[in-house]
Amino acid sequence: MLERMTKFSLDRPKTVIGIVLIVTVLFGLQFPRISIDTDPENMLKPDQPDRVFYNRVKKDFGIHDLIVVGIVDKEGIFRPESLERVARVTSQILKIKGVIIEDVVSLTTTDNIKSSGGFLDIHPVMREISLSSKAVDQIRVDIAENPFLHEKIASVDGTAVALYIPIQKKDMSYRIAKLIRAILQRELLPEQTYHLAGLPVAEDTFGHEMFIQMAVVAPLAFMVILILVFLLFRKLAFLLPVGMDAMFAVIWAMGLLIGTGNTVHIMSSMIPVFLMPIAVMDDVHVLSEFFDRYRVLGDKRRALLEGMQPLYRPMLFTSLTSAAGFASLALADIPPVRVFGLFVAFGIMAAWLFSMTMVPAIISLMSEEKLKKILSEEEGRSSILDRVLKPIGRFAFSRARTVLIFALVLVAVGITGVMQIRINDNPVKWFQKGHPIRVADSVMNRLFGGTYMAYLVAEGKEPGSIKRPEVVDYIGRIQTSLEKSQLVGKTSSVADIVKRINLVLHDNDKAFDKVPDSSEAVGQFLFLFQSSGDPNDLDNFVDREARRANIWIQMKGGDNRQMSAVESDLENFIKTNPLPDGITLHWSGPTYINKVWQDLMVFGMLKAILGSFLVVFFLMMIGFRSLTLGLLSMVPLSVSILLSYGLIGWVGKDYDMPIAVCSSLSLGLGIDFAIHFIQRFQVHYAKSGNIDETNRYMFGEPGRAIARNAIVISLGFLPLVASSLTPYVTVGLFFALLMAFSTISTLFILPAALRIVGPRILNGGKS
C-alpha cells in the first residue's frame, strides 16, 4: 500500500509535488488570520469552576487588570520638583485610551480621608501640581498615617511612588504600556527611573515577544537543522527535500490550526520549532538508504524503491508513536496544551506523508550527473561517528551485565530525583533574568506591598451579612494573620475602610481604630465612605448587597508555592479562629488562578504521559508482534525519561509548564531510536542467525543513521536556547538533554539486553 504511494510519486513526480504545493498554499493562506492569546486564564477551560468564580469576582467587585508603574527617585521622591513630575505623568497617563480614568490610584487621583482641625478632610493626597516643601512633608505624613495608602502609593523609604492603572482589556496592555513608557521617558527627571509591573504587562509583552520568537527562533532552528544535515551527510542535495518537508509540515500544521479558528498560545507558538526536527527524521533515513543503494545500483527509481522497502514499517511506526505521544496531550484538561498536541501530531503525520511521496518525487527529478558527482565526492571519507560507535557497540555487547546493572543504578538515581521534583511556576519568570519585566518585578516588590494579586472572598448567606460587626472584625483579623507572612506585603478590605472612618470621625482617637459594635454603624460608615469619594472604591471590597466581601492580598511573589503557602496560613488561622456563622471563604485572583491551572497541568500531564506510554507500548507490541520486544523497546526511553526528570529534581529546577509539556513529547520521540534499532536488529538477525555479528552490523550503517538523527534532533532544538523567553530555553535545553539520554541508553542498553534475551525471543537464521 505504502509502496504503491511511493511508486505513484515516482511515476508522476510533478503531479505529486504540484498537489503538495497547492495544499501548502491553501494552508499558508490561513496565516493572516492568526490571533495571539497570552492570557494564562485560558489555560483553564471556560467552565472551570475557579475560572467561573474569578470572572464573577471581577464583575461583582469591578476589578480590572492593573498596570503598576513605579517611579523611583534616588534623591528621594518627596521633593516638590520630583512630585511635580509624577503629577504631570499621571495626568498624561489618564489621557491614554483604554485607561479606566476614575479607578486610577495615584497621589493626584486618590482621595485621602483624614481628620484635621475637627473636619473630615477628603481630598486627593496631592492637590496641586506645584507644592511647597511643607506641603510635600504633609503628603508624606498623610500617606504614612493612612493604612490604605501606606506602602501602596509610596514606598516606606520615601524613594518611590506607584501608580495603579486599571485598563479595560488585558490585550490593550502592551499598547498602553508602550505609551506610558514614552510619557515617562519624556517627563521624568534624570534622577528618576521607572518600572512597569503587573501581570497584564508581563502577559502581553510575552505575547509580543512570542511573535518575535516565532519569527527569529523558528527560522534559526530551520537553518541549524539544514546545516546539521549538511555536516552529517555532506550532501547539498539533501537540503532541498529535507527543507521542503520541514517547512511544509509547519505550514500545514499552523495553517490548519489557524484555519480552524484556534488561537496561537505560548504552547502552539512552539509548534514550528518542535515539528521541524521531527519532520526531517524520516527523510534522513530515506536519503541515507537511497544513497547506499544508489551507489550500488546506479538507478534512481530502483534505489529509491529498494531503499525504502525496509523503512516503511519503522517509519510508519516511529511517526505513529511520535504523533500518539503528542496527541496524548489531548488528555490534559488544558485547552492550549490540547491544541498544541493535536496539531503537532497532525504535522508529524503530514511530514511522514511527505517522506513517502514528495521526497522521493523530488529525488527522482534530480539529475543523474549531479547525484553521481555527490557520490564521487563522498568516497574515502571515514566517519568520526564510526570511531565512536564501534567501541560502544563492542563494550555494550561484551559487558552486557555491567551495562544493565549500571542502567538499574541510574534508574534508581532517577527515581530519587523525581521524588524531589518541586512543582512551581510563575509567568513573570517566563522572562529571562535581567529582562525589564523581571527587574521591575523585583524592584516593585521590594519597595511596595506586592504586585501579585490574590483575592479572598468572604461570602454570607443573606444580604447585609458582611455588615455584621463580627464579620468585619474577622476579616480584619484574617488580614493581620496573613500579613505576618513574609510573602504577603499588604492586604486591604472593608475592615480597613470601616476602621479608618471610625478613627477619623472620632478625631483620630486611637481608641476608635477598630470595628464599631453595631451593624448600623458599619452600614453608615460605609455609606459615608461611598458618599465622600469614588463609589467604585467601595465596590472593590463589598458587593452591592453586602453579602460578599473581597479581601485584596498583595503578594511579594507569584510562585505557585508561595500561593499555596499563603493558603495554608489561612487554613491554620481558621483552625484556631472559627468562621463567623454562615460565612464561607473562597480564594480567587490572578495569582491563585495561575496556581490552579498549573496544578491541573501537572496532573493532566501525568495522565497524558501514562496514556501515551500505554498507546506507544501497544503500538510496539503490534509492530513487533511480541510482548517482550514491545517491553524491551520501552526500556531505553523509560530510563532516559526517569534520568532527565531525576536531574530536574536533583538540580532543584522548578517543574513548570514547559518541563511538563516535554514529558509527553519525549515518549513519542524517544522511542524512535529503539524502533529503528530493534527492527533492524530483528531483520538482520533473522538473516544471519548470529547475534554477535548482528550487533556488529548494527553499529555500522543503522547505528550511524540513529546517531545522525539523534544529533539532528538534539541540536535542532538548541536554537531555542537563544530565546529571551525562558519556556523556550527550558524546552530547548531539556529536550536536547532528553534526546541525548535517549540515544545513549538506546545504544548501550539495547545491545546489552538483546545479547542476553535476543537469542530466546528472536528467530535467528530462518530466512
Binding site: 464583575k59 469591578g62 495626568s91 489618564l94 489621557k95 491614554i96 485610551k97 485607561v99 479606566i100 480614568i101 476614575e102 482621595d111 484635621s116 475637627g118 473636619f119 473630615l120 478632610d121 477628603i122 481630598h123 486627593p124 492637590r127 447585609g464 455588615k467 471610625n502 470621625l505 472620632h506 464599631p516 453595631s518 451593624s519 448600623e520 454603624a521 458599619v522 452600614g523 453608615q524 460608615f525 455609606f527 459615608l528 461611598q530 458618599s531 465622600s532 469619594g533 469614588d534 463609589p535 467604585n536 467601595l538 452591592r544 448587597e545
Partner: protein, 283 residues
C-alpha cells in the same frame, strides 16, 4: 420678594444677573436679540437649580449596574436660595437604605469656592463637618456628582453656542462648555430647551476625548406655585437619568411631591435640624 417677577442673583465672581421668570417675556427677549451662550447657560441654571425661593422634594434614586443589579436610595431634599450671590443651602435626609435611615447631609453651596458640608451619623450620634473641594465627586455613590445635583459655577467653563437644533418638535440651543481648569470632563454639550430653558440632554467627554456620561431629563412636570394673581407654573424635571457609558452603570432619579416657596428660613439649615429634622420636612 415679589413672586411673579422674581429676582435671583447668580453670583458668579463678577456676574449679577436679573432674570425674568416668565416664559412669555423670555421669548420676546430672545426674538429681539439672540442670547449669548453664557446667558443661555445662566438662564438654564436658573430654571434648573434656582427655581422659586425654596423647594422640597422626595427623591428616589435607583443605582443600576450594568449587570442589572440595583440599589435604591430614598431621601427628602430641601433647598433654599440665598438672596444674593447664587448661594444655596441644601438639606438631605435619608430614608433608605434601612441602615442609613436618619443620616443627614447639609450643604451650603457657594458657586465660586469650596462648599460647606456636614454629615450626621446617627449610629455614633456625631455631626461632622466635611472639607472637600471636589464637587465632581459622586453624590451618595450614584452617577450624579454633587455639581449635577446643585449646579456648576457658570464661570468655571467657557461656553459657546454651537447651533440651534430641532428635536422631537422642540427647539434646542446646543451649547459647548469647556472647563477652564482641568476637570474630570474636558467638554460638555448641552441641549437646552428654548421654551423652558431646561437642559434636556447633556453629554460629557473625558480626558480621552470619549463620551463617557450622558444626562437626560426624561419627564418634565409643571408644578403650580402660588394662588390667584400670584399663581405661576414652574416646569420641573421630575425624572432624570445619568448614564456612565464606560462602566455601563446608570442612575435614575425621580422627584416626587415637589413643592416650591414653602417659606423656609435660612436658620432652618442648622446642625440642630440635622439631628432632629422637623417632621414636615421628612414626612
Amino acid at each position: 420678594m415679589i413672586l411673579v417677577m422674581k429676582k435671583a442673583i447668580l453670583g458668579v465672581i463678577a456676574l449679577v444677573i436679573l432674570i425674568v421668570g416668565q416664559a412669555f417675556s423670555e421669548e420676546t427677549a430672545e426674538q429681539k436679540m439672540p442670547l449669548s451662550a453664557v446667558r443661555i447657560i445662566e438662564k438654564s441654571q436658573q430654571a434648573f437649580y434656582y427655581q422659586g425661593d425654596d423647594m422640597k422634594t422626595n427623591v428616589t434614586m435607583e443605582l443600576i449596574a450594568k449587570s442589572g443589579g440595583q440599589r435604591t436610595r430614598v431621601m427628602s431634599m430641601l433647598r433654599r436660595n440665598a438672596t444674593e450671590g447664587g448661594n444655596q443651602k441644601y438639606f438631605i435626609y435619608f430614608h433608605k437604605p434601612g441602615d442609613v435611615r436618619r443620616m443627614t447631609f447639609m450643604v451650603w453651596k457657594y458657586p465660586g469656592k469650596e462648599d460647606d458640608r456636614w454629615i450626621f451619623v446617627p449610629a455614633v450620634d456625631l455631626i461632622k463637618r466635611i472639607a472637600a473641594d471636589d464637587k465632581r465627586s459622586s453624590f451618595v455613590g450614584s452617577d450624579f456628582t454633587y455639581e449635577d445635583i446643585s449646579g456648576r459655577d457658570v464661570a468655571a467653563d467657557t461656553h459657546s453656542l454651537l447651533r440651534s437644533e430641532k428635536l422631537a418638535g422642540r427647539d434646542f440651543y446646543v451649547i459647548e462648555s469647556i472647563p477652564q481648569e482641568p476637570s474630570e470632563y474636558t467638554k460638555r454639550l448641552s441641549w437646552i430647551d428654548k421654551k423652558t430653558l431646561l437642559p434636556l440632554k447633556e453629554e460629557y467627554y473625558d480626558v480621552q476625548n470619549e463620551l463617557f456620561r450622558v444626562f437626560t431629563a426624561d419627564k418634565i412636570e409643571n408644578i403650580k406655585v402660588g394662588e390667584g394673581l400670584d399663581e405661576n407654573v414652574f416646569p420641573t424635571v421630575t425624572r432624570r437619568t445619568m448614564k456612565n457609558l464606560k462602566t455601563g452603570h446608570r442612575t435614575e432619579v425621580v422627584y416626587s411631591s415637589v413643592s416650591y416657596n414653602l417659606g423656609l428660613k435660612d436658620k432652618d439649615f442648622s446642625e440642630r435640624h440635622m439631628r432632629r429634622p422637623p417632621r414636615s420636612w421628612i414626612r
